[in-house]
Symmetry: C2
Subunit: 230 residues, 2 copies
């Protein structure tokens, strides 16, 4: 895994609201200590509980972020897609990862030394502001997920997952996904079997169409109604 192969920070800078705030020197600092790594599907980028030394920026592919409990259950709390770094709250507190990140498909990530990142954050107000904005958006997303998981029944939760995948993750309507049924279940807080059953009722009602890894939402308004009604 060589350093600085493929992309460089100046390319990413154009694509990311947050990295736009970096000046030339800061970008050089990041570029200088940056390590690019390719992950294959299923490979762990970082593991819950492990120390966090680096900030991770996803350059290509898709990573899922999930919490694992003692009881072997997982809950997917979000995704990281290009070009975005992963907000690691532990980096600012106990220097531990509080969730795991795993590549869903072939994924490239840049690792940036946490101290370098922290240093920029401490000195560049615009960057810090953009960072806080991003963290705020993520917090709001967590609120929505928490409300969905605790207040809605399974059809509403699956509707939420499908709408979120189409509108926030893939930004497409027939979308091709690398997520398994288990992943969909982990997003919606249910078992794989239950997720499959709900998807089947949606298919029977012509709300969606699935074909191997492709999912198409045929009736978005109805899915939104199901989401609202819980």
């Amino acid at each position: 895994m060589a350093n600085n192969n493929g992309s460089n920070c100046h390319l990413c800078m154009q694509k990311s609201d947050v990295f736009k705030r970096l000046n030339h020197d800061e970008l050089d600092a990041v570029n200088g200590c940056r390590v690019t790594i390719k992950y294959r599907p299923g490979e762990i980028i970082f593991k819950q509980g492990s120390p966090c030394h680096d900030f991770v920026c996803i350059v290509s592919g898709l990573a899922k972020l999930y919490i694992e409990s003692e009881c072997e259950k997982r809950i997917i709390i979000g995704f990281a897609k290009p070009v975005d770094y992963i907000f690691v709250p532990g980096a600012f507190t106990d220097k531990r990862h509080h969730f795991s990140a795993v590549a869903c498909e072939e994924t490239t990530a840049c690792l940036v030394n946490a101290e370098v990142f922290q240093n920029i954050l401490d000195n560049n107000n615009a960057f810090a502001s953009a960072f806080i904005k991003k963290v705020s958006e993520q917090a709001i997303g967590m609120f929505e997920q928490l409300a969905s998981l605790t207040h809605k029944q399974m059809p509403g939760r699956i509707a939420d997952v499908l709408l979120s995948l189409s509108q926030k993750i893939y930004n497409a309507n027939p979308f091709v996904t690398s997520l398994s049924r288990q992943d969909l279940a982990d997003m919606s807080g249910m078992t794989k079997e239950s997720a499959i059953r709900i998807l089947k009722t949606f298919k029977d009602d012509n709300l969606i169409r699935t074909d191997s890894d492709t999912i198409e939402l045929l009736n978005v308004p109805m899915l939104e109604t199901i989401s609202r009604n819980g």
Copy 2:
């Protein structure tokens, strides 16, 4: 509700890790635009969906923060106690409140103009860093709550609530609380009736003791075991 009655910012500064980072001028700016308000139990400090013009700092009492869904259900996502401001993610995004804050008991809050607050955040790196640290801690707390609510059964969730109240909110073991059974249920994602039933089994097993508004944890290790086992 007059301005600047009772406390002043210099007192709060000593009690809050975050406000310690403010210099004299910044503190004066905050002090100058600050409005102090007393809320009675049950009164709304701010309401989900409403525009957020001010940052809220709790000076005395206790406020509960909760998300309300369309289906009339609530989930308490945290508390604010003295001296702490409430992190309002909407202030950095869509200028709307994404959860409601309600006084649990007689509560005093200082409202600080959001622009003044934002201005300090943009210019004081140490303050911004402390802010990010606080937000990170809150995010980690949300992860734990999400895992508790989605992966544990009712006894584990109630154990989590009791331990959290004793160890994080009240910092006392027999503690006197102003929270209703409904509030405990809203913290643990279940109905009031279910919460009461679990509390009863805990009482029957001599894990806790309750006397009107007082709750005492008699067997913390066992409660922790119940929490771990879900």
